[in-house]
Symmetry: C2
Amino acid sequence: MDVLTRIRAAGFRATKQRIELVRFLEKTEHPLDIQDIVKGLSRSTDMVTVYRMLAAFKRADLVREVNLRGEHPRYELADESDHHHIVCTDCGRIEDFTDETHERIGKQVLARSKSFEAITGHSFDLYGVCKPCAK
Amino acid sequence: MDVLTRIRAAGFRATKQRIELVRFLEKTEHPLDIQDIVKGLSRSTDMVTVYRMLAAFKRADLVREVNLRGEHPRYELADESDHHHIVCTDCGRIEDFTDETHERIGKQVLARSKSFEAITGHSFDLYGVCKPCAK
DNA sequence: TTAGCTGCAAATACTTTGCACTGGG
DNA sequence: CCCAGTGCAAAGTATTTGCAGCTAA
């Protein structure tokens, strides 16, 4: 589905700011924070507009918010396959990995829990040292 | 180990503010944010001091920072056994659970990764609906 | 005694809100 | 045409920094 269609399908007007945002996120490999995103868009696009676009896209499940340790939230397109992040604690490099095990863990936890009725989401991220930083 | 000794062992002076903070965190069942903590301490303890105590205790591994979705950071004593949190997305209720599986996942990810040398930490939390909220 | 801590004030950083104008459909 | 969306300004929060005075050791 092309960018304009995706934006409209989510119930929004396809403005040039929104089109540029989606195209920019399509090009990025890893979740970016507000600052990164503002820097990546036309200088004329206000940071406030970026906040508003991301909030709206998040509500519409077009964009996914990623919260890593101590950092401000980062954003990535939600259509990317479900994955988790491994982060270098030294340089901040982020890489993706996939894992299905947590689903089973969720079910186990639910079975044992006296107080929870359902599980609707999870966060699972790893922190480590990347090879360049390990040297 | 008693509170004063623990604080001193971490390399700090056992001031009344720090003693009160540790005693307060010992009583709490789940990680609290800055606001909760300030409210729980003597009115005379400045919020700035709370920020500074938590930052120092975190560096000294006396306190652990917990980052949940979209929330400001929360803090709990680090001596509590390694555990994860399950959070009700409706009322914010937090419960603990333990799981060892993520260690194995970490090793698998590391084995497959071309760019990471070591894993030093992780975050794993579940989100769901608690029984009272499900009704 | 004296360096580590604290409280108060102020600076900085981040995010949200209000409002008039613009442009997408 | 008209209302969702934008930019600019300003307000609201969260967090950090500077510094003078206090206090634990």
